[in-house]
Symmetry: C2
Subunit: 452 residues, 2 copies
Amino acid sequence: MGIQKPSIPKGTRDFSPLEMMRRQYIFDTIRNVFRLYGYAPLETPSMENLSTLLGKYGDEGDKLLFKILNSGDYAAGLSDDEVRSASRICEKGLRYDLTVPFARYVVQHQSELVFPFKRYQIQPVWRADRPQKGRYREFYQCDVDVIGSRSLLHEVELIEIVARVFRALRIGVVLKMNNRKILYGIAETIGHADKMIDITVAIDKLDKIGIDAVKAELEERGLDRAAIDRLQPILELEGTNEQKLNILRDVLSGSETGLKGVEEMQTIFAAAERLEIPLDVELDLSLARGLNYYTGAIFEVKAKDFTIGSISGGGRYDDLTGIFGMPGMSGVGISFGADRIYDVLTGLNLFPEEIGCSTQVLFVNLGEAEQWESLQLLRKVRDAGIAAEIYPDAAKMKKQMEYANRRGIPFVVIVGSQELEARRATVKDMRSGEQRQIGFERLAEALEADFA
Amino acid sequence: MGIQKPSIPKGTRDFSPLEMMRRQYIFDTIRNVFRLYGYAPLETPSMENLSTLLGKYGDEGDKLLFKILNSGDYAAGLSDDEVRSASRICEKGLRYDLTVPFARYVVQHQSELVFPFKRYQIQPVWRADRPQKGRYREFYQCDVDVIGSRSLLHEVELIEIVARVFRALRIGVVLKMNNRKILYGIAETIGHADKMIDITVAIDKLDKIGIDAVKAELEERGLDRAAIDRLQPILELEGTNEQKLNILRDVLSGSETGLKGVEEMQTIFAAAERLEIPLDVELDLSLARGLNYYTGAIFEVKAKDFTIGSISGGGRYDDLTGIFGMPGMSGVGISFGADRIYDVLTGLNLFPEEIGCSTQVLFVNLGEAEQWESLQLLRKVRDAGIAAEIYPDAAKMKKQMEYANRRGIPFVVIVGSQELEARRATVKDMRSGEQRQIGFERLAEALEADFA
């Protein structure tokens, strides 16, 4: 085993203690809100059968699946072509998202489940994308979904969840919403019901490329000028959500589906207002969401004070489980983007200061007798729930203090010969530099007060 | 996309909400203890370069690595033999344990780290083992290690951590300890220093196969009868740890390494006693631990009232990072086996009762007006930190109550027309069946009291 310079695969990351503590803060905040709304945790295996994954994400997605080589004599009895095609040397792949495994789970366990089934799932997913800034080959998704109910109360609940999560994280956000039925209604109204997908794909880019480029793309995708001209004013609708919906009710009067979408959004917005949910919710007709299994309301969350893509998104789907042989299960869910939320919190300097010190109190080590007294005190400090440690050797004071500084430990407890005699510890606040003397028997509660 | 009966790869598991809540209880308990001792969280990628993993776990281990097929045109320009050999179509593999990635991380990031570096890591690992009862191809490890210090205070700290974790989980355990230096000293003393590995591998099986089978195996492995006869009484030593160590000091008087091991254990046991750590710690000379990178104290935890393999284990290693070009970094760590701990808690019925209900309060839905009042109350109940939900439709009462029962929801709040009039909700305790009337404005605090 020769010496090798270690590295990790491109597109993957190590998370240092500081990054981890910040990520745990994000995950814990999100998880606590999910729990408050009665969602139960679920985990599925990292590996799924390729038959479960293939064909669920389009041809592009299939190419981005990480395939796992069959273990053992993987190529036994296969022709060179079969081996090269990889079709028979790999039967498993890494999870590409949490939605398809969730659908697979619901179908597989339908007899044990109580519907509506509310679950959250926080796990990594893997995509063989070309790595680039902000895009990784392994990243976490935080999904919350309810399946087995068409009630719009669930859409309202998701609005509340978004409001609560970002209030807890102190990030100002706007929730943009649209409805796939409205988009279909628009396509139908301009005489291109068949081009629903092309239209959504094109207008999805409105923010990025602007109206003219979108019109050009629509023409490429086979819409005639007249249709495009009728589409433009709809995309540029101004006013309150209520006003936009009122106009749409007229524009879409010829489309039953479109009117259904308008009605759904009116119900959802009215409930959000009546419940005084503290969140800016905005109907955005240019919002389309890439994934095509959405069939009703769709969501996207943007940070107000930081420029980055959407930090959460989701929507209503009517037939997620059909592909696995269980049709007609309607559900709705939203996914929180932990990496982008991390970037926003970093960019706006919103991580609470106390995050990032894994040890709150360090006992310096000044020799045999002092060490034993310190170990007794250390036990009491930990019993008080304070993260504490003792320097493992009686090293030079300077070295131990440097350790405390570099670790960002806020308090150092010194038990030297004088302290032993007086039965009082010296507590140094590393930020202010100020020192206090505290009797041994009162040390734990005194430190507890510092962290209360 | 035709319909397919969904399944998951053999050896992998879905974790249902109940299993997840119980697992979270185990992980949270362990994590909180790790934090209390100043260990910082770390995560490494699921995929490592095969060059990082190969050759670290023996030939057997290499066979058990899950290899990931290179993405894209993985076989471009390769000969059929190269493709078949898999040596060039796979450059990445899934993590086999948390120790090698930890060593890789420490070497790769040595310039940023402060030593001694204390980290914990709770992540899944993957092994292409033949699946069988209690053995899975994906399972979590919970590792805690400190690296960059030879101080025996760390061994003592790990004893405290074991005591605290299993006290918190209410599992009675015994911590068995031994020392690789003592095992080497024994091998040296019986004239077979060269056969240290054979001896450890053989006596490691003492518990399972008994002394005679061990002696037979030692003979197969090339030890002469005389040596084996001198070994037997050592393995059958009786008495307190102190007594065993005193005898060993004589037996191993000819082995410097052996005496060093005896001294280390005396220091560790003396400290544990002086600190009155509430844990049975037992010197077990038949304890060897399979992994050969251990060089000092080794640990293994057994449950007292439940028959299962060890539920935690670890030890001191002096050169974990050498293979990556960073020699002489001594460290010590222990790993907690979440799956076996789960089985013990299940077998002894030790999971706290409240675990397993993700929703504490269900508001039944009795129609438009009742629903709006309920939604207002629901918000206040959630603000009080209580996990609560409302049934999404005004379905038949029977159906809603059945939902509460099957979900194991302990309290149901009923707001019907009478309640609306009286401004008092009916709260039903689903376990006792007893009902109370509580004024709307007092509902949240009343329920809060029920969960305090």
